[in-house]
Every structure is written in C-alpha cells, then in structure tokens.
C-alpha cells in the first residue's frame, strides 16, 4: 500500500506554488490589509490566475469543464494556498461548493459548468459545525447567515437554512442577497452577513437529501480549513525559524538557544502529526469512505490545536516585533486564530470525531 502522494499530485502542488508565490506575496497581503477596499490588492487577477490554472474546478467533472480530480489532489493545492495565507475562499469554493453542486441531485443541468466557465466564486454559509444546530433558522421566510467568507468577491452563495417545514440548501446569486460586511480578526477573509429568502428555484436539496448535504458541507469545510491551516503553519514556522537565526541576543542568534530550538521543533512535530490526519481525511473523501466525516473532524481537531500552539510559539519567538503592524507575521497569526476556531474548534471537533467514531464502530 502506498502512503505518499503520487508524482502527479506533487506536480499539481508545485504548479500551484509557482503561481501563488508570484501572485500572493506578503506585500500583496499588506496592500489588502492596508486598503479600505476589501477587494484591494490583486484579488481579481489572482482569482482568475487560479481559475486559469484549473485549481478552482479541480473537483468538477470533465463534462462540467473541470478536471475530474479528487480531494487527494486538492489537499496539496489548499496547503499551498495556506502557505501564502491566500485571502480568497479557494477552499470553500473548490473543496465545498463545487463538489456539493456536482453531488446534489437537484442542481440544474449546466449550472456547474456555467459557473466553471465564468470562473465564478461560490462561497458557503449557513452551516457551522460549531453551532449546536447544524444550520441557521429562517424567520418570517428569511434566513441570515453570519461570518460568510469572501462576500465581496462571491458570485453566488451555497447556503443552508431550516424552517418549520424542514431544511433546505440553496444556491443564491449575490443580487438576491443582502450582504453586510462584518468586522473580523482576519480582515483578508472578507467576512460578511448574508440574508436571503429561500425560493423554490434556488433549492439544491431539501428534506433528507439536504440533511446529508449539510453534513457533507460541515465535514468538507472542516477538511479545507484544516488543510489551509497546515500550509499557514508551515510558512509561519519557516519564517520564524529564519527570524530566530537572524535575530541576535547576547551576541548570538536566539535560535542557538536550546529553549528556542525546542519550542520551534515542537511546532514542527505537531504539524507533522496533523498532516497525515488531514491527508487521510482528504483520501476518505476522494474514495467516499464512510469514515470521511469522522476523519475530517479528527483532522480539524488536530490542525486547530496545532495552529493555536504554533501561533503562540511563533509570536513568542518573534518577541515584541511580532505584535507590530509592520511585521508580516500578523498575516499568519490572524489566519491561525481565525481558522482554528471557525468550522469547529479543537474540543468541538474532538467531540464530533468521538461520536462519529462510536457510530462507525457499531
């Protein structure tokens, strides 16, 4: 049995890295952070480069204009997105919305291929594994999803909601939504509240179908954020190790002190323990394994915990400079803090993994 990525999968990852290292530099991120415009920087250009690359439609079938690949290919691409702290919601679009639209039986024919053709970004909201109920409630026929990423760039939204008549998953165009930007810790994520009125023509799934799809959305969101976190921590750790080799104290680099070395080594160990769980979850989705929900929960639990610890360590190693606006460390710290708690934090995901694991073993 083979436990490593194929040459092909590694080549896709490398191809993504080449594009993102050029198109999403720390100075691009700084432009975005320092701009009043949430679409600042080279956002549109970057999304179309990802679309030209094929990253946005990696999981769409070839008939729909995609590449017909699986999550085992996507996971490396998403890790690369994390390594540059990509602001665009590539994970939610390519790893959640696209496969769900391909999966849902009520998706109108040609819808996915038209979205792929346009290079349109679909963001996802209304489902949060961290909520006690799986989806947001409708009130007076209107639903209201909080903290939906990339609201300004999204062409449409995949949204779940529940009413007294049952649950529904809809694909709603941005012109049919009321979008209110929400202040967030990581402003690059461009969060917003989305209010919409579920209409029959927008429904992708309802009833039992919708419940299954909502479960897929929850687990897929966990997986893509876990993959992103692995990439963020990888880059943050490299940057911090470089800093520790450069920054002098008592006449020597601080990285020469064992206490500093050990802290950074512990982060590397935690990252290398989280990664296989993330890769396993990706594989489980790619073969539609029954354990995929459990695996995604475990992956997110490990990744969230690892990212929180990594952020604390990297900030400490940087010392005072790490707290400043001028330091680029902030892009990675904020992403860690935001994604470690979004889509279920570590304790919540552990509980989910436990209950799903018990079900599997019965």
């Amino acid at each position: 049995m083979r436990f490593s990525f194929t040459e092909e999968q590694l080549a896709l990852r490398e191809g993504t890295r080449d594009v993102l290292e050029a198109m999403c530099t720390t100075s691009d991120l700084r432009d975005l952070y320092e701009s009043d415009n949430p679409m600042g920087g080279r956002s549109a250009e970057r999304w179309s480069a990802l679309s030209d690359l094929g990253a946005t439609a990696l999981l769409a079938s070839e008939e729909a204009g995609g590449l017909g690949f699986g999550d085992a290919e996507l996971v490396g691409v998403l890790e690369e997105a994390g390594r540059v702290a990509l602001p665009e919601a590539l994970g939610l679009h390519a790893g959640v919305a696209v496969p769900i639209l391909g999966l849902a039986s009520s998706t109108p024919a040609g819808l996915l291929s038209s979205l792929v053709e346009q290079g349109a970004l679909v963001s996802v909201g209304g489902v949060d594994v961290a909520l006690t109920g799986p989806v947001v409630r409708q009130f007076d026929g209107e639903a209201h999803a909080e903290r939906v990423p990339d609201v300004n760039r999204a062409h449409s939204f995949l949204l779940a909601s529940a009413s007294d008549h049952g649950v529904q998953v809809c694909l709603v165009g941005r012109d049919q939504c009321t979008i209110t930007p929400t202040p967030g810790l990581d402003t690059a994520l461009n969060l917003g509240a989305v209010a919409w009125t579920p209409r029959p023509e927008n429904v992708i799934a309802e009833g039992d179908d919708a419940i299954l799809i909502i479960d897929e959305i929850a687990s897929r969101s966990s997986l893509v954020s876990a993959a992103h976190l692995c990439g963020v921590v990888d880059a943050m750790l490299l940057r911090t190790a470089e800093y520790a080799k450069d920054r002098q104290q008592f006449g020597v680099p601080i990285g020469s002190f064992q206490a500093v070395k050990h802290m950074l080594a512990n982060v590397r160990v935690a990252l290398e323990f989280a990664r296989p769980a993330v890769y396993r979850a990706a594989w489980s989705f790619s073969v539609n394994d029954d354990a995929r929900h459990h695996d995604a929960a475990l992956a997110k639990a490990l990744a969230s915990e690892m990212a929180q610890d990594a952020a604390a360590t990297c900030l400490q190693v940087h010392g005072g400079i790490g707290y400043t606006w001028e330091s680029d460390l902030q892009f990675y710290l904020k992403r860690c803090w935001a994604l470690a708690t979004a889509y279920g934090d570590a304790p919540m995901q552990r509980a989910r993994a436990l209950s799903l694991g018990l079900n599997l073993s019965q």
């Binding site: 092909e8 191809g15 690359l53 690949f69």
Partner: protein, 254 residues
C-alpha cells in the same frame, strides 16, 4: 511554423550550489529545473506558433543523467515534444562542444525558427546561441525584446544600450530573446498532466554523430570574488546633485 527552443536545465538557483573539486564545474548531480531565462523563449515560441496558425514547438536540451524535470515544465507550458541529449561523455563540455551537440540535435527537427535565451543563468558564457547559428549556417539576431513574423521574415527589436534597433531577417534563423520579450505563462493543471505523456527523445552524442573528446576549454582555477570595496563618499559642497548626475551619466543610467 516549426520552432525549436533551446532550454537549459540548471541546478535550482535558490538551493546552495557547489563546484566539483577536480573540474571546477558546477555540480549538476541533483535535481535540475528549467532555467527561468528560457521560459521567455518557450512562451515566445508558443505565441509565434499560435499566431502562425499552427506548428510545433520542440525543445532541445543537453543535461546529465537523463534529467527531464525542467523539460516537463516547458512541456507543461505547451511545447509539443523534446529532444534531450544526455551522455556521460559530455560531462564538463565547453561552450563550443555544447553548441555542436545542440546544433546537431536541432538539425533533426529542421525548424523555421530557433529561439534561445541570451545566456544561461548558471554558466553565463552567452556564446552558445551564435555558435549554434554559425554551425547551422543560419543568420542570428541577438537580444530581441520583440519578435514578429511577417511573411517569410522576422522583425526584431534588438535591445541596445541606448534603446533598440529594428532588425529584419529572412527565415530560417536563430533569435536570442531577453527577459522582457513576453510574460511567460504558468503551466495549467491540464498542461502539467498532458506533459507527462508528451514525447521526450533521449539521444547520446554518438547518436548525433558528435565525437566526444577532451574539451577545448578547461577551468584551471577558481578564486573567491573580491570583497566589495568601500564606496566613494561625496561631500556636498553645493554641487552634490550635479556630481550624482555626473556619476549616473558615467554608468549610462541617465
């Protein structure tokens, strides 16, 4: 229109590099990547072939150990096929030997146009392209910042120190392109996947009828670069600005 692009696969410039102790040549035993400066030639070739309404872009490369990683990158960009000359007997080959090998490999494709970079990013001799042209008995135009095909002619804007010259020459010929000529595309996922199945013909020097012997050139010694000397401090006696302008003029920067 058939275009051949000469591409070099070089050790990753971002990785630490070393010289081989005996020959003082670059250690090329590790993984090699496509020389960045060659991506411009590949892109130019793809665009010219597209504009001409068809034709193949063929890559020609010489590298040790049957190395194809760099070629795969260029194939992923869209080139149709590649010829790789890989032969232990060519280890440490000098510029002229390299030119003879590449010229022989290029001849097999009988191209309308040959594109190369102005020089490689690891050897920097900058002599191989014109040697190839000479060996093939073709005209050559160097330092192209723009290449346009019109009828049977190539119109080139040739970069000079003060601007550019317009140069026209008939096909077939060899053109060396600068980094400004076009913006290379990124290989798409489809391109990366397709590159795996594109043909790469690996040949040896003897397949090409090239006699391999002792290289005409050898590196006798290598010394460390001199430490940078201290700069000149200009004390501004009211003429500071003029002296800076004079200095920049001397460097032909203004």
């Amino acid at each position: 229109m058939n275009v051949v692009v000469c591409v070099k696969q070089i050790p990753d410039p971002a990785a630490p590099q070393s010289l081989e102790p005996g020959t003082h040549t670059l250690d090329r035993s590790g993984k090699l990547i496509l020389d960045d400066s060659d991506a411009y030639g590949v892109e130019m070739a793809l665009q010219l072939a597209e504009q001409a309404g068809g034709g193949d872009v063929t890559l020609v490369s010489m590298a040790p150990n049957g190395e194809t990683s760099g070629l795969r990158t260029a194939l992923a960009m869209g080139a149709a096929s590649a010829v790789l000359v890989s032969d232990d007997a060519l280890k440490g080959a000098d510029a002229l030997t390299t030119a003879k090998v590449l010229a022989a490999a290029i001849k097999k494709s009988n191209p309308d146009l040959i594109l190369t970079a102005t020089e490689s990013s690891d050897g920097y001799t900058g002599t191989v392209p014109v040697q190839i042209a000479e060996l093939l008995g073709l005209p050559s135009i160097t330092f192209a910042k723009s290449v346009v095909i019109e009828g049977g002619n190539v119109k080139v804007q040739r970069q000079t120190e003060s601007g550019y010259d317009d140069v026209v020459a008939p096909l077939p010929l060899l053109v060396t392109v600068t980094a400004g000529v076009v913006e290379p595309r990124y290989p798409s996922f489809k391109g990366i996947m397709a590159a795996k199945s594109k043909p790469v013909e690996t040949v040896t020097a003897s397949d090409l009828g090239i006699a391999t012997g002792a290289a005409g050139q050898e590196i006798t010694s290598v010394v460390d670069a001199e430490a940078r000397a201290a700069g000149e401090i200009v004390v501004d006696d009211g003429d500071g600005a003029q002296r800076i302008v004079a200095f920049l003029e001397e460097l032909k920067l203004v």
